[in-house]
């Protein structure tokens, strides 16, 4: 093959590659299809089916299934729903605030420790992460043993040794909610810590140096540099842990079972009970749709507060 021929062949190859790239750019559906199928089968189809079931009388008991709005009507007039939503709000708000505060506190502590080259910071990070990898059910069982009000309950035994009156951790409806939040915060703090730790690492250290030159004290540096710089991380973390907390039921079911009474029965647990105890598949689907709507509204709300990128960024 002559040089001219080789150049022509190379030229044809380049043209073919460019043409293929153009074709892909102009018709992205073919290469997006596998992902779309995967998402559709494993994510979209169940959601569509839940919407469909919400408009039926489907039950695990059997019987003929037909389309009706009765399940939605039953939810709207359900006198228990406001209590369940309030319980969910208290549990979610308490957990999200607690996880953010403790996560931020530990992340700042680890960062400062690392800057000062203190011994044991890696161990501290690992210890916090241990709680995160524990399954929800196990988390509930661990705290159930700690909060046990039996004479041999762990925390109350310590309180008795200190001549402090034992606490009705799980049998008092108000304290039971607090106990549930504590156990969830203990488990979820690690995730917030990781997010905040990464965000802290990304802050330009020259900002702190400049602030120090200007005479800013520790609190001022935290208030006017750290927090504003971490705003996107805090908002993203808020979205993620709010949705995760809304869906939490495993830790509660093993800690309190939703009781005493309905004191700790959050929306996700109520949905679980509706399907697996009352065997009401349609009712559970309506509740699932409600959870999806709440999660979406919260996500949109948080996202609207995110700082916008400038066009030239």
């Amino acid at each position: 093959m002559t040089m001219t021929g080789a150049a022509m062949a190379g030229g044809r190859g380049d043209i073919a590659r460019t043409s293929l790239r153009r074709r892909i750019e102009n018709h992205p559906f073919s290469w997006l299809l596998p992902v779309a199928i995967l998402l559709g089968v494993f994510y979209l189809y169940p959601i569509i089916d839940v919407f469909r079931l919400a408009f039926t009388n489907a039950s695990l008991r059997g019987g003929e299934e037909h389309y009706t709005a009765d399940s939605i009507r039953a939810l709207i007039v359900n006198p228990i729903l406001p209590d369940i939503l309030w319980t969910t709000f208290v549990f979610t708000a308490g957990s999200v605030i607690g996880q953010q505060l403790f996560g931020l506190g530990i992340a700042v502590l680890v960062m400062r420790g690392e800057r000062r080259r203190l011994y044991g910071m890696t161990a501290l990070r690992t210890l916090v992460l241990v709680a995160w990898v524990i399954p929800g059910i196990a988390n509930g069982l661990i705290w159930q043993m700690l909060f046990s009000e039996a004479p041999f309950g762990a925390i109350n035994s310590v309180l008795r040794m200190m001549h402090v009156q034992p606490v009705a951790w799980l049998s008092d409806p108000n304290i039971a909610m607090l106990s549930s939040i504590i156990s969830n915060v203990w488990r979820g703090t690690a995730f917030s810590m990781i997010v905040f730790y990464a965000a802290l690492k990304a802050i330009d250290t020259t900002l702190y140096e400049a602030a120090s030159v200007d005479g800013a004290n520790g609190w001022q540096r935290f208030r006017f540099i750290t927090l504003p710089q971490m705003r996107p991380a805090i908002l993203v973390n808020s979205i993620l842990i709010t949705i995760a907390t809304l869906n939490t039921f495993d830790a509660i079911i093993s800690l309190t079972g939703g009781g005493p009474g309905r004191a700790t029965e959050v929306l996700s647990l109520y949905t679980f009970n509706t399907v697996f105890r009352n065997l009401d598949l349609a009712g559970g689907s309506v509740l699932s749709v409600l959870m999806l709507i709440i999660s979406l509204l919260l996500a949109v709300g948080y996202a609207s507060m995110m700082p916008r990128r400038e066009p030239n960024e």
Partner: protein
């Protein structure tokens, strides 16, 4: 001669080793029978089987299953172990069997059997049991497994009941009435105990154990058509009387407030072992657990008696237990499932685990049921009452659990809690 003896000895050892190896090959964690057997039966079971956490029981079931499969050549049984979350497991299995993806054969909790029967997923088992065997079942057992067409749809192989356990050193005489129990519990507190322990948290045991107090007065949860009537007329009075009895136990200090958090019979064993209680209402199976948990001299202090009623003559106790049912459409598999119920569980399984049999004949057949304790349990079955086999029962139970928590913690009055429970149950019934 010596050589012949050696050969004989070697042959015996080889045979024994081969036999043991062969038996081991016949049972694994999730299979009974040869892996290449042409016919397969999937069997979903609870801890009552070769995977039991107690080594003796596990070994006993392994032997029973190996003997069984040797009598049924050509078959292998795929074992599917349920988790301890029985309510969820049974609900999931109901859904699976309805969609045709369930096991061929399974353990079905007696209190949800009606749901499976009404869903039409169970196969009749009459042709695998004689009429004499069916007639010998206790009436509540026979009624529980019989469908509207008169056919039996499962084999109820074991039953249980609730009794009052007490430490004789602290409570010498068995309390006969509610008042006597309250007085005994308060007296036990003077001796450093925490009073009477009962289930009171969000789980089925709370409803089931408390219902004995409602049933003892003749109360009915549902009418003959299955409609909830526990909040109507006389039933309402009886219901409130039984709720107020529990509330009074807590308010008076006879029972600790923490009973509103108890969701496991094991808590009673733990309290007995810790020496912090002298009275609790538990299941008959707990006697064996206490025996294995406590030191012999401590165990000797414990005994049991029927659950006290409002009067000495008004008694009741909840009876539960497990059934085995067939879901397969293949008649051969249905026959195999019935054979498992008959040859592994009914009788042999009862004796192995000391689980109370469901027919009179088996109490005479096995020596283990001739002990004083088991005779006493069998006698107490006279007051036995099973939960109503109606589709609305799970929701009634759920609402009673919520109600009990609200009442025991003082969040609601018994009347308000009953009204809320009834409203929720009636709404659920209307949607059935």
């Amino acid at each position: 001669m010596r050589r012949q003896f050696r050969v004989a000895l070697l042959a015996t050892v080889a045979t024994l080793v081969a036999g043991a190896a062969s038996a081991q090959d016949l049972i694994t964690k999730d299979r009974v029978g040869p892996a290449d057997a042409p016919k397969t039966l999937s069997f979903r079971l609870t801890g009552d089987g070769p995977g039991n956490t107690l080594p003796d029981v596990a070994e006993g079931y392994q032997k029973l299953f190996v003997d069984f499969i040797q009598k049924h050549p050509g078959w292998q049984i795929k074992l599917e172990r349920m988790s301890d979350n029985i309510g969820q497991e049974q609900a999931r299995m109901l859904e699976q069997t309805k969609s045709g993806t369930g096991p061929d054969c399974a353990a079905v909790d007696s209190f949800v059997l009606a749901l499976f029967m009404n869903a039409g997923v169970l196969k009749p088992l009459n042709e695998y049991f004689t009429q004499a065997e069916i007639d010998d079942l206790f009436p509540f057992v026979r009624e529980g497994i019989t469908g509207k067409d008169g056919k039996i749809y499962a084999w109820w192989w074991d039953t249980d009941l609730r009794v009052l356990y007490r430490n004789k050193d602290i409570v010498a005489d068995a309390p006969q009435t509610w008042d006597e129990l309250k007085a005994a519990a308060i007296a036990s507190k003077d001796k450093g105990m925490e009073g009477l322990l009962v289930n009171g948290g969000r789980w089925e045991g709370t409803t089931f154990d408390w219902l004995a107090n409602f049933w003892a007065q003749g109360g009915k949860l549902v009418d003959d058509s299955g409609k909830p009537i526990f909040a109507d007329g006389e039933n309402r009075e009886k219901f409130l009387k039984a709720v107020n009895y529990f509330k009074d136990l807590v308010d008076s200090g006879a029972a600790p407030k923490r009973i509103a958090t108890i969701v496991n019979y094991d808590e009673f064993n733990a309290a007995a072992a810790a020496g912090s209680t002298a009275l609790f209402i538990g299941g008959n199976w707990q006697l064996a657990q206490l025996k294995s948990t406590l030191e012999p001299e401590e165990f000797a202090k414990w005994t049991f008696s029927p659950i006290p009623g409002p009067t000495k003559d008004q008694r009741s106790t909840g009876t539960g237990g497990w059934t085995i049912g067939a879901f397969s459409s293949d008649p051969e598999k249905v026959a195999m499932c019935a054979a498992i119920a008959k040859e592994v569980y009914s009788g042999a399984g009862n004796a192995l685990q000391q689980q109370l049999p469901t027919s009179k004949a088996q109490y005479d057949k096995f020596d283990v049921f001739k002990s004083d304790a088991n005779k006493a349990f069998a006698a107490a079955l006279v007051d036995g009452q099973a939960r109503p086999g109606v589709p609305i029962y799970p929701e009634i139970s759920n609402q009673i659990q919520v109600m009990m928590g609200d009442v025991l913690t003082g969040a609601k009055t018994p009347e308000a809690a009953l009204d809320a429970a009834n409203a929720a149950v009636q709404a659920a019934y209307a949607r059935l």
